[in-house]
């Protein structure tokens, strides 16, 4: 009979950043990871998220210090630019590493 694994034998699931693990936020983080910065409209088009959805996830990520949000006016129209902070980039690297080790 196979012995039941105890809790400390389990892979490091606890180490996974739940804030990033949520699919919509994971998409936002991944899209921002491959560029230096992008605006709200670009992320909406690329991720397929609605305005409200993207807005709420953006706030969560900003509060966590993972992204930097810069609001300005371009041609008299409001423009919101987002970019990953150093902490966000590091957190995303760690998230990827922990996911890889989980499925290795």
């Amino acid at each position: 009979m196979t012995p039941t694994p105890s809790n400390h034998d389990l892979p490091p699931v606890k180490e996974i950043d739940r804030l990033i693990h949520e699919p919509a936020r994971l998409l936002i983080m991944a899209h921002l990871y491959v560029v230096e910065g992008a605006d709200f409209l670009y992320l909406m088009n690329q991720t397929g998220l609605t305005f409200g959805n993207l807005s709420s996830h953006m706030t969560r990520l900003e509060e966590a210090g993972y992204i930097e949000v810069e609001k300005s006016f371009v041609d008299k129209r409001p423009n919101t630019r987002l970019s990953l902070t150093d902490a966000g980039r590091k957190a995303f690297d760690e998230y990827r590493a922990s996911m890889k080790s989980l499925f290795a």
Binding site: G37, A38, Y42
Partner: protein
């Protein structure tokens, strides 16, 4: 799938594809070739100067049109510093090498006497094919550098058009700038046409917000 979502290379590729979905790159490169083709038919004294300054001017104009057309529809995205530097460096290398090879080929082949080395005679004999090959390589390299697959097809079209031009002109073939005009103009028209189709589709897919 989670694994698909974190495929960063695929996300970067999609970002690049979306960025060039507007067809403006095709329109500008095609427009330049068309302009070059047109100029070869004229007797305008300052042709070389015009051809030289149109490339940087066109690049500046391209970026301005991109700001007006693409960003308000698709949104703005800035590639990483490393990528921008790599693209700029590779593009300069490609254009510099291509320009050098083209000029060398053109002038080495021009009016070569019978006693010229075999390489020069070969260039003289197959000059149009050589120039077509250079243009095809430029488009191939730009397609690779900018990750735009359409440019690979234009590369194939260039080879075909220049080969057809060579067959049409037949033998003995006389090396002349004027002979470069029609193939360049034909490729230019094809690129502008395909670019315009992409542009139309892009405008429909990403309407400008009120």
């Amino acid at each position: 799938m989670l694994t698909d979502d974190v495929d960063l290379k695929e996300i970067e590729r999609r970002a690049l594809t979306a960025y060039h979905e507007d067809g403006l790159l095709d329109i500008f490169i095609g427009g330049y070739l068309l302009f070059f083709g047109f100029l070869t038919f004229t007797e305008f004294e300052y042709r070389p100067i015009l051809i030289s300054i149109m490339a940087p001017l066109g690049t500046m104009f391209y970026h301005e049109v991109k700001k007006l057309v693409t960003y308000p529809r698709l949104g703005f995205m800035k590639f990483t510093k490393e990528r921008r530097a790599r693209v700029a460096r590779d593009t300069i290398i490609v254009l510099f090498v291509a320009g050098f090879v083209t000029l060398t080929g053109l002038f080495t082949g021009m009016g070569a006497p019978e006693s010229a080395p075999w390489g020069v005679l070969l260039l003289n004999r197959y000059n149009l094919l050589f120039q077509g090959g250079v243009l095809a390589l430029i488009l191939l390299a730009l397609g690779r550098v900018m990750s735009v697959n359409r440019l690979y097809w234009y590369s194939v079209i260039s080879l075909l058009v220049f080969s057809a031009g060579y067959l049409y002109l037949g033998s003995p073939y006389v090396v002349s700038l004027r002979n470069l005009g029609p193939p360049c103009a034909i490729i230019g028209v094809i690129m502008v046409g395909i670019g315009a189709l992409h542009y139309r589709r892009f405008i429909g897919k990403y309407p400008k917000e009120a």
